[in-house]
Symmetry: C2
């Protein structure tokens, strides 16, 4: 038992969230219950509600932490500032904004993959309208670097997020089924790049990015 | 109790699947248990395993039925045949294949939305490598009308499917949360076209389709 756990009720919100993230990563979303979390912290379940009024609020906090995985706060702020500045002035070269979108998408995929059931936690929080809008904001800022208006950038960011969550959710479900040994025989014979999900992911992001460039050429 | 239900153990595989689909639609995936299904059919749970060796196999059958919703078998076959013929000869005009992809995507979205938790049933079956490949095959056939090679058509179809499942899963989660009254306040203030999910869906599909045309112009 660590020193933090032995302090009983004297846990900070951060302690609770970090322990919840560990349970999620070790056991998966279905096993992340308030009861189990309380037991891991050596407190009564009721003590958790001081920090998180319900499980949805806890999951929203976890979603924010997952989405920010691998991003120091300072870097994230600097990145947003750069994007806004560029939008306010002139559009950058096509390859620059495309690279920015690909980079944001790849970073988000890595962050979701860093935690078991990461995509599911983030997508349910997104559907509830809880949690920060950091993921979609970063994608929108990257698209806006291409000189697209706010409405188009926002819609494109949302489309990117749906694709990213759909793709990574598939990857994580498949990893889980594989670990359970329940995958169908010959599953790699499908038309999917199962052997290289990162390449399949980049292909999809490139289609969405190319579609934005294509829409510009049609205006 | 209907005549079918009163016949006890004498249910066909189709009876079992249709009853399961009704329970799914009425109560949602978490409440679709083999026990509940057996009770609805007035049989012992063990009697179900004669038709479906496990729940995954049952869900795969439901996924196939959901994906085929609103498509007579004859029409689906004719559509595939048309696509293959066109691929074997010359590519159709750009607007034709784009229209075909948009149409397949919209039909699939409608089919998923026709059943509660439809996107979740189809995505978990897809991740397991079970069920038919009808959804991805139809999308790939539509893309192939544009003269793209099989590899590109298959990858694009998979990317489309991830986007479609991600988008509709979001829509269905949101509908469910809304019915529970647990949506966060001011959720429509996000950057998403929550008021018109069909338009947001078309925008995403158009980006993926446009990206294919854009990739052709770069070759």
């Amino acid at each position: 038992m660590t020193e933090t756990e032995s302090t009983g009720r004297r846990h900070t919100r951060d302690d609770v969230a970090r322990t919840a993230l560990r349970i999620l990563d070790d056991h998966g979303l279905p096993d992340l219950t308030m009861r189990r979390l309380a037991a891991a912290l050596d407190v009564q379940p009721s003590a958790l509600y001081w920090h998180f009024p319900n499980k949805q609020t806890l999951l929203a906090e976890l979603a924010d932490r997952i989405v920010s995985h691998g991003r120091p706060v300072a870097t994230a702020t600097a990145s947003t500032a750069t994007a806004s500045t560029a939008t306010a002035s002139t559009a950058t070269a096509p390859t620059d904004w495309m690279h920015a979108v690909r980079s944001e998408a790849a970073t988000l995929r890595d962050a979701l993959l860093a935690y078991r059931d990461g995509a599911e936690v983030v997508s349910s929080t997104f559907a509830l309208g809880l949690g920060s809008t950091a993921a979609v904001d970063r994608l929108a800022s990257a698209v806006a670097l291409g000189g697209f208006d706010d409405h188009t950038s926002g819609r494109a960011a949302t489309a990117l997020l749906h694709f990213i969550l759909g793709h990574v959710s598939h990857e994580q479900q498949r990893m889980q089924y594989d670990s359970f040994g329940v995958l169908a025989d010959g599953v790699t014979a499908s038309s999917i790049d199962e052997d290289d999900p990162a390449a399949a992911f980049r292909f999809g992001v490139d289609l969405l990015v190319g579609g934005l460039e294509f829409s510009r050429s049609r205006r």
